[in-house]
Symmetry: C2
Subunit: 370 residues, 2 copies
């Protein structure tokens, strides 16, 4: 039996208040201002933008980013890359290690259809990539302080680059240097300092590569919370911001100041008040299957008296301040705590402008985990 | 553009080690033992079983539960009920309030196809249900201590029942009395005590209804962590356990003793070790888009030296005890922290028996939020 095809939650032309809930709502004006803010921030700078599609998983959004000057997009999974390639995105970097026979086979097949890059941090995995016999851009992921994947900067990375140079099909494309933990350090100063230390690791590795006569075409990395530090350092050639298109509660808690531009909340979960059990509580129909709570609760948009206090699977408990009016059936906009895993819960974006539904965009790579 | 249809992560007959990752794996033997344990627990007791399909969202699992004696299933969303009805499940209770025009229209349409129940906790919502003009079983949800939806037990509930009795089409089917918070109180004694207090509220409301001459056909409620307390109380006619088919880390932390049967972990996320950055760390390809972390981190199944310590979007950080061997590419089974929202991340169950893939079952109501 095939999975049941769900009715879309909205029709084009509907007013926002008519949209079924919970729905993933994209405010197109705010989204476009975020795209423009990114474009202005890097204007005239010697850096390529390769936005991270793990955030949006959307062919439509990737197309707009590319129309705005992005060289392509990156993603975290081969299946995400497949979904984006299916939608016509032709330059893709899997900014992650790809391990396991089924994934490697799919990577090889995809490399014949699009310009494709992949990361490596391990000699055994590198030999598996070489054994595929296909043309691939291979980036060495170096550990720059995040404490996740990545080979140690300096000599260990250079040893891996030497192995790539010996391969006939693989091309050493450069370094992946991303500091994920840095993105949510709250003060500008903390983020600046951590990226300065990451830049040092990048420079040290590049210097060793140069000494060996190994060209390092591109250093790629950086996220929405730090990317201008990477740009200003001069050590990166390409940035991978993802969340800037949407923002979320977690990013909203960061200090934002120059050199980073301001981005706006553009992504929301529309919810309905489905129960008013007591004056101080409103229950909404959006729980943790509708808005990921891994980085904290959603915020209630432009309703200072309402606080989304806790989530269960299908319900959200909203505290109501004394004197605040909330009607049964009222729609509330929630700002997701964390945009990436929230998007992954939905099959489509309900794209809204001026209070009306302008488009429905599929979440093209929803559930693309493989 | 339609969403990209993903390749399934497994083929029937494959060995578990060959399955792509991260995947949602159902151990059919353990699952069937859980079904049998439930059947034995209620054997000869005067109670109907209406398992909660919000946990599994699966037509295949609902069918097996019904074959095992369940009267039907319940779910939390109209769209879940639609997906299950599409798969032939004919007796459905939306154990939740349904608020908002699009949902009410769909509820009315569905009521013409299956035996359908719905909950209400508010007179305004009741009038909306009555205005649909369709035949519906209406249950009054009473608040029994969870602090979420539900009208106060006693007179307020009876006033609502009087209104239902005046409707020509709606049928007062009884009370929904579910104490969600009780399910994860850790000791048997805490859970027993909280359900005793919920039973008091049920009895009080039933007595008032009887005094008014309003028949209360069914009291429904209870979850996997408490259902035998509800059964033993004699105050419930129907139980709604969901998680017992799978179990998870959170339920595993409960004290389990008679009168509750033991259930086994039957649901897993299969993950691959994709990076070994240092001896004390293994990075797996299953992060918080692969296993919900709202109720804590996943457990590593039958590998005492390994601890899943933290999750990012697509990565899990597994701490490796000294001397423990973990190879790059090795597959690990993870026990989800919380089964319901984890299932909702996947398009299919990879059903395994004796180490081989026996079936792929769609998560029929995945993303059915509406």
């Amino acid at each position: 039996m095939a999975a049941f095809v769900k009715c879309p939650p909205a029709r084009i032309g509907q007013r926002l208040e008519e949209v079924d809930t919970p729905s993933l709502v994209l405010d197109l004006d705010a989204f476009e201002r975020n795209l423009a803010a990114m474009k202005r921030a890097v204007d005239g700078r010697k850096v390529r933008v390769r936005p991270h599609a793990k955030t949006h998983k959307s062919v439509d959004i990737a197309r707009r980013q590319i129309a705005d000057g992005a060289i392509g997009v990156c993603c975290q999974k081969v299946s995400e890359a497949e979904a984006l390639a299916e939608g016509g995105i032709a330059d893709l970097l899997v900014s992650n290690e790809v391990v396991g026979a089924p994934k490697l086979e799919r990577l090889a097949a995809l490399s014949k259809r699009v310009k494709l890059g992949v990361c490596v941090d391990n000699p055994e995995n590198l030999r598996q990539l070489a054994a595929l016999g296909c043309e691939l851009d291979v980036y060495i992921e170096i550990e720059v302080g995040m404490g996740r994947c990545g080979i140690a900067a300096g000599e260990p990375a250079v040893a891996l680059a030497r192995e790539i140079a010996r391969s006939t099909k693989l091309r050493f494309a450069g370094l992946q240097a991303y500091h994920g933990r840095a993105q949510h350090l709250r003060t500008m100063e903390e983020r600046r300092s951590v990226i300065a230390s990451a830049a040092e690791k990048v420079r040290q590795t590049k210097a060793l590569l140069a000494k060996e006569g190994i060209a390092c075409p591109i250093v790629t990395g950086a996220g929405s919370g730090t990317f201008m530090f990477e740009v200003d350092s001069g050590a990166w050639d390409e940035i991978q911001p993802g969340s800037y298109v949407f923002m979320d509660v977690d990013y909203g808690k960061n200090e934002w100041a120059a050199p980073l531009p301001r981005f706006e909340h553009a992504l929301f979960v529309l919810a309905t008040v489905m129960s008013r059990p007591k004056p101080e509580a409103a229950i909404v129909d959006a729980g943790l299957k509708a808005s990921s709570v891994d980085s904290g609760m959603p915020g209630v948009w432009q309703r200072a008296g309402l606080t989304y206090a806790k989530a269960s699977d299908e319900h959200g408990f909203v505290s109501v301040a004394a004197g605040e009016r909330v009607a049964l059936g009222e729609k509330l906009l929630l700002v997701p705590g964390h945009c990436d895993p929230t998007v992954n819960l939905y099959d489509q974006y309900v794209c809204v402008r001026g209070g009306k539904v302008e488009a429905l965009w599929p979440v093209s790579a929803r559930g693309a985990l493989y």
